[in-house]
C-alpha cells in the first residue's frame, strides 16, 4: 500500500463517520451534508462536495444508509435524500468509539500527563 493510499483510507474512514453522524439529525441530501460538515468545522474541513458521493454510495452499498428521491419541503423539486438505517446507527457507535480510542491514544503520546 502506498503512502497516498494510506492517507486516503484514513480520511475515507473518517469521512464515513462524519457523514453518518450528520445523518443522525435526520435525512439530508448530498449538498446539505457537505454544507453541514463544512459549516460546523468552521470551514476547517474544506472538502469538495464531490468527494462525498463515493462515500455516500459506499455507505448505501453496505446498508448503513438508504436513499430516496423526495420533494424538498421548501422547494418544488426533488432531491436524493439519504437516511440512516439501524445498521448505520450501530456502525456509527462502533466508529465513534474507535475514533475516541485513537484520539485518546494519540493525545497520550502528544500531551503526556505527568503524575
Amino acid at each position: 500500500m502506498t503512502k497516498q493510499q494510506q492517507k486516503a483510507n484514513l480520511l475515507q474512514g473518517t469521512l464515513d463517520m462524519l457523514v453518518l453522524r450528520t445523518l443522525l439529525y435526520g435525512p439530508a441530501h448530498g449538498h446539505q451534508i457537505g454544507k453541514h460538515i463544512q459549516r460546523t468545522t468552521n470551514d476547517f474541513l474544506q472538502m469538495q462536495h464531490g468527494s462525498l458521493y463515493p462515500a455516500l454510495h459506499r455507505l448505501e452499498r453496505r446498508g448503513w444508509v438508504t436513499s430516496k428521491w423526495e420533494t424538498a419541503p421548501d422547494r418544488n423539486r426533488e432531491f436524493k435524500y439519504y437516511r440512516l438505517t439501524e445498521a448505520g446507527r450501530k456502525q456509527l457507535v462502533v466508529e465513534e468509539s474507535e475514533w475516541k480510542r485513537m484520539a485518546e491514544a494519540v493525545a497520550r503520546v502528544m500531551w503526556p500527563v505527568t503524575e
Binding site: G30, S51, Y53, K80
Partner: protein
C-alpha cells in the same frame, strides 16, 4: 448492484450531481456573485466531476467489469482500424485453431468417447492364452454363462454369437450379419432404442432389433417397419425396435435373442464389464478358478494351460491408431504454435509503431498493468475471433476427415462419431484463449515497459534496429523454421511411404480379381464329406460363368491373418510361427501367384484330404535356406484340434503335412511389410461353415455379383451370398487408404506450416525495412552497393533460417524413432531432409524478394526526409 443496471444507476448519479451543482450555484448567486462566474465557482467547489464519477463507480464494486468493457471497446477499435493486420492475424489463428479442433474432434471421438455404452471403458473381452500368441476368445455354454453373469467381480456380462443368416423372404437371398445376444444384453449396454423397444428377458425367441445402418439401407429409415416381420433362415422374427446410429456392437445388421443351448459344441462368446475401481489383474485372478472348472466341463472350448487376460474394448478397436493420432495431434499443435508465433511477431512489429501512443498514455497516468491488460485484451480478442472462424474451418475439416475415412471402415471403432460436439467446442474455445495469452503476453510485457523518452524520440529507431528486438525476431523465426522442418519431414516421410506402397511388388495380380463370401445356413451340409462336395460344386458353378476365367476357394490378400505354431521334425531349430491358409488347388493360378518349385495338389487329393502343403518363399528361406524343402514334413499345431459345430476336421488329420512345392510371397502381414512364412494346405483339412470364393474375371468384376448369385442359386436356391469385394478395393481400403489418410493430413499441415513460416519471414523483413528507412537511406547515400543493402536486410532471416534448420533437423533425428514407430515411415531419410531444407530456403528467398527490392530502390533523399 447488478451490472446491467449500470446505465440507470449512472443517470441517477448524474442527476444527483447536477442538482448539487444547481443548489451551490443558487447559493452563490444569492451571495451576489455574477451568474456566469457562479457556475464556474460551483464547479470548482464541487471538484473533478469525471473523477468523482469513477470513484463512485468503484464504490458500486463494478469498476473492474467496467474497465474490462472499456478495454474490449478500445481493443475492438484498434483492430478495426488496422483491418489488414487484423485479418492476417485472425486468418492465421483460425487456420491453426481450425486444424487443432478438427484433429481434437477425431481424438475425442476415437480415444476419449468412442462408445455410447454404459461404462464402456470398463467393458472387456476375456482372452485365454496358452503358448499360442493368438488368443482365444472366451466361449461358454448357457449354463456356464448363467454362472459367470453372477460373478461378484463383474458388473454384468453378455453372451453373444455373431452369426451369418440369410434374409430368405427376398427374391435373392441376402447374407446378413446377425448378433445373437443373451436377453440381458440391452440392459447391459444401457443405450435406449431410437424407435420402438429393445428385447429383454421377458421376450420370446423370435424378436429382432435392427441396427440403424441396416434400417436405413434396407427399409430407407421408414418408421412403420416396427411390428413387421423379418425372415431369417426361414424363421419369422418380429421387428420390435431400431437402435440409434452409434450402437454398432460387432457391426451386426440385426440383433436377435440367443437361443438357450446346452450343447457344448455350441458355445457363445462372453463379454463383460468389470466393476469400477477393480483392476484388470484382480478380475483376472478372481475369474481363473471358475474358468478352470468350466475348462474341465467343456475341454474342447478351452486351450490347455491357459492364462486369463482382459482386453478393454477400446484397446482392441484402436491399437496402433492411437499413436498415429497422438503424432497427428502433436503436429497440429506445432502448427498452432507456428500461427501463434506469427501473430506474436506481427503484434511485436506493430507494437513498435505504437510506442509513441503507449508512452503518451503512461505520461497521462495509465499504470503499466492497465496498459498490459489492454494489449492482452487485443490479443485475446484476435484469438477469439480466430477461434470463431477456426470453428467454421473445423466444420469443413471434420467433413474432410469423414471423406478421407469413409473408405476405411476398419480404422475407427464403428461406434465413434466424429463431430463438433460440446466438449470439442469447449476445447477449441479454451485453445483460442490460451493462444491469445501465449501470443499476446510477450508483446504486451515488452511494450508496457516503454518510457516516454523512448516514445518521443522514436526517430532514433529508424537508425539501426535495436539489437534486443532483433534477437527476439531471430529466436521467433528460428522456432518457426524448426517446427516447419518437423512438419515437412513428417509429411515427406508419409508421402514416400505411400509411394513405396503404390509400387510395392504384390506377388499376385490384383486387376480383375475379386472374392465373395458364402456362409452356410445353420445346420446345412452338416458332415465333412457333404460339405467338401458342396463347396466344390459351388466353386465349379462360379468357375463356369462366362465372365469368369477361374475360381478358387481361399481369401484375397492382403489380409492380415493370425499365425499358427509350426514345428518341423527334420530340423534342429524347427519350431516357430507361420501363417496357415486353407485354399483349393486353383488358388495359385487364379491369383497369379507363381509356383517356384514342385507342384500343387490336385482336386482329387483335396477331396480325399491328403495332407500336402505348399510353402512360400519366406518360409523356404527361413527353414531350408540351403536345402530342398520338397518332401519335408511339418506339423501345424492349430490349437483346438477337435472340431465344433462350425468347423469339421478331416478324417485322419494328424496335423502332419508333407511339403510338395514352393510359391512366391504375397503380403500377409499388411502391405509393404515383409512377407511372413506361410503354409498353404487344402481347404478340406478343416472346412468352416463359411468360405470365400476368389475369382479371376475377364473384365471389371464390380458388377458381377448378380451373375454370381445366379450361379450359386443354380446349385442351391437358399444359399445366401455376401458382398463382392474387389482386390483393388481391398488394397485401397485396408492398407493404402490408411497411408493416404496419413499423408494427406500431414501434407496439409506441413503446407500450412510452411506458409506460416514464409509469412513470418516476410513480415519480419518488411518490418525491418520500414524501421530502418533512414539508416538505409544514409547507407545508400554514402555509396553502399545493392548487394550490401540486400545483405543488411536479409541478415536476420538468414541467421534465423540457418539456426532453425539446424534445430529442426536435430530434433527430427532425435524424434525419428517415435515417429517411425507410430507411422511406419522414415523421417530420417537424408535425401528427404535435404529436399525439405531446400524447399524452406527457396521459400525464405521468395519471402525476401519484395522487402529487398523495396530496400534497394529507396531514394536516399526521400528516405532521409522521412519523419
Amino acid at each position: 448492484m447488478r451490472w446491467w443496471q449500470i446505465r440507470k444507476r449512472d443517470a441517477e448519479l448524474e442527476r444527483e450531481i447536477e442538482s448539487d451543482l444547481e443548489l451551490e450555484e443558487e447559493e452563490l448567486r444569492e451571495r451576489g456573485i455574477p451568474i456566469n462566474e457562479a457556475s464556474y465557482a460551483a464547479k470548482r467547489a464541487f471538484g473533478n466531476r469525471g473523477l468523482i464519477r469513477e470513484q463512485t463507480h468503484e464504490a458500486w464494486g463494478i469498476a473492474p467489469l467496467e474497465r474490462l468493457f472499456q478495454d474490449i471497446r478500445f481493443a475492438f477499435r484498434q483492430l478495426v482500424r488496422n483491418k489488414r493486420f487484423s485479418a492476417i492475424c485472425v486468418l492465421a489463428l483460425a487456420l491453426g485453431i481450425g486444424a487443432e479442433t478438427t484433429i481434437y474432434s477425431v481424438i475425442h471421438a476415437v480415444l476419449i468417447d468412442p462408445y455410447p455404452y454404459r461404462g464402456a471403458m470398463r467393458m472387456v473381452h476375456i482372452h485365454l492364452y496358452d503358448k499360442d500368441p493368438a488368443p482365444y476368445d472366451l466361449a461358454l455354454d448357457s449354463a456356464q454363462f448363467a454362472q459367470i453373469v453372477k460373478s461378484p467381480v463383474l458388473d454384468g456380462a453378455i453372451a453373444e454369437d455373431v452369426y451369418t443368416m440369410g434374409l430368405t423372404d427376398s427374391e435373392l437371398p441376402e447374407q446378413l450379419q446377425v448378433g445373437r445376444m443373451s436377453q440381458n444384453a440391452f440392459d447391459y449396454f444401457g443405450v435406449p432404442a431410437l424407435l420402438g423397444r429393445e428385447f429383454s428377458p421377458s421376450d420370446g425367441a423370435h424378436v429382432a432389433v435392427l441396427s440403424y445402418h441396416f434400417w436405413m439401407l434396407h427399409f430407407a429409415g421408414r418408421p412403420d417397419v416396427i411390428g413387421r416381420s423379418l425372415q431369417l433362415d426361414r424363421q419369422e422374427f418380429e421387428i420390435i425396435g431400431i437402435l440409434p446410429q452409434r450402437f454398432a456392437w460387432t457391426g451386426s445388421d440385426v440383433y436377435v435373442p440367443l437361443p438357450k443351448s446346452s450343447d457344448p459344441r455350441r458355445p457363445a462368446n462372453v463379454y463383460a464389464r468389470i466393476h469400477a475401481g477393480a483392476t484388470d489383474a484382480e478380475v483376472e485372478q478372481a475369474l481363473t478358478p471358475m474358468l478352470n472348472v468350466f475348462a474341465k466341463e467343456t475341454p474342447a472350448n478351452f486351450p490347455q494351460h491357459f492364462k486369463v487376460h482382459l482386453v478393454h474394448i477400446n484397446e482392441i478397436a484402436i491399437g496402433r491408431f492411437q499413436g498415429f493420432l497422438v503424432i497427428l495431434f502433436l503436429s497440429v499443435t506445432a502448427l498452432l504454435a507456428l500461427a501463434c508465433v506469427n501473430v506474436a511477431i506481427l503484434l511485436l512489429a506493430r507494437g513498435e509503431t505504437r510506442r509513441a501512443e503507449i508512452g503518451m498514455r503512461k505520461v497521462l497516468g495509465a499504470s503499466a498493468s492497465r496498459i498490459a491488460r489492454g494489449l492482452l485484451t487485443e490479443a485475446l480478442l484476435l484469438s477469439l475471433a480466430g477461434g470463431g472462424l477456426g470453428i467454421l474451418f473445423a466444420l469443413g475439416g471434420v467433413r474432410l476427415v469423414h471423406l478421407l475415412i469413409q473408405p476405411l471402415p476398419s480404422i475407427l471403432p464403428s461406434e465413434a462419431s466424429i463431430a463438433l460436439n460440446l466438449p470439442v467446442l469447449l476445447f477449441s474455445v479454451g485453445i483460442a484463449s490460451l493462444t491469445g495469452v501465449l501470443c499476446g503476453v510477450w508483446p504486451a510485457l515488452r511494450l508496457c515497459r516503454t518510457e516516454l523518452r523512448q516514445a518521443v524520440d522514436g526517430g532514433t529507431h529508424k537508425l539501426a534496429g535495436r539489437s534486443g528486438t532483433r534477437r527476439i525476431h531471430t529466436a521467433l523465426l528460428a522456432a518457426q523454421v524448426a517446427l516447419t522442418i518437423l512438419l515437412l519431414a513428417g509429411s515427406g516421410a508419409t508421402v514416400r511411404k505411400l509411394e513405396q506402397l503404390l509400387h510395392a511388388s504384390l506377388g499376385y495380380q490384383p486387376r480383375n480379381l475379386a472374392s465373395v463370401n458364402l456362409v452356410l445356413s445353420d445346420g446345412a451340409h452338416n458332415n465333412w464329406a457333404d460339405r467338401i462336395h458342396y463347396y466344390e460344386q459351388i466353386r465349379d458353378a462360379i468357375a463356369r460363368d462366362p465372365d469368369v476365367i477361374s475360381a478358387a476357394i481361399g481369401h484375397l490378400p492382403p489380409l492380415i491373418i493370425d499365425s499358427t505354431p509350426v514345428s518341423i521334425p527334420g530340423l534342429k531349430v524347427g519350431s516357430g510361427q507361420v501363417i496357415a491358409q486353407q485354399v483349393s488347388p486353383e488358388y495359385f493360378s487364379t491369383l497369379g501367384i507363381p509356383l517356384l518349385r514342385g507342384r500343387v495338389w490336385t482336386s482329387v487329393e483335396t477331396a480325399h484330404a491328403v495332407r500336402l502343403a505348399l510353402v512360400n518363399e519366406a518360409m523356404r528361406h527361413r527353414y531350408w535356406p540351403n536345402s530342398n524343402p520338397i518332401g519335408q514334413a511339418l506339423v501345424l499345431n492349430n490349437g483346438v484340434a477337435n472340431g465344433n459345430a462350425w468347423r469339421f476336421v478331416a478324417p485322419g488329420d494328424d496335423q502332419h503335412f508333407q511339403v510338395i512345392g514352393v510359391v512366391a510371397d504375397t503380403p500377409n502381414k499388411g502391405l509393404g511389410e515383409i512377407a511372413y512364412p506361410a503354409v498353404y494346405i487344402p481347404y478340406s483339412m478343416m472346412p468352416f461353415d463359411g468360405f470365400d470364393v476368389t475369382i479371376r474375371t475377364r473384365s471389371d468384376p464390380a458388377g458381377l455379383l448378380r451373375a454370381i448369385k445366379g450361379d450359386v442359386h443354380s446349385v442351391e436356391a437358399d444359399q445366401a451370398v455376401g458382398d463382392l469385394v474387389t482386390a483393388q478395393d481391398l488394397l485401397e481400403g485396408d492398407s493404402l487408404g490408411r497411408e493416404r489418410f496419413a499423408s494427406h493430413l500431414f501434407t496439409t499441415f506441413a503446407l500450412l506450416g510452411f506458409a506460416f513460416a514464409v509469412g513470418g519471414i516476410y513480415s519480419v523483413q518488411s518490418y525491418l525495412v520500414a524501421q530502418r528507412t533512414r539508416e538505409l537511406g544514409v547507407r545508400i547515400a554514402l555509396g553502399a552497393s545493392r548487394r550490401h543493402i540486400v545483405k543488411e536486410v536479409t541478415r536476420t532471416s538468414f541467421i534465423a533460417v540457418s539456426l532453425g534448420s539446424g534445430i529442426g533437423v536435430g530434433s527430427n533425428i532425435a524424434l525419428g524413432q517415435i515417429f517411425a514407430h507410430w507411422t511406419n515411415s522414415n523421417v530420417r531419410d537424408p535425401w528427404m531432409l535435404l529436399g525439405v531444407i531446400g524447399i524452406l530456403f527457396c521459400g525464405a528467398v521468395a519471402a525476401s524478394v519484395a522487402p529487398a527490392l523495396e530496400a534497394t530502390s529507396l531514394d536516399p533523399a526521400n528516405a532521409l526526409r522521412a519523419e
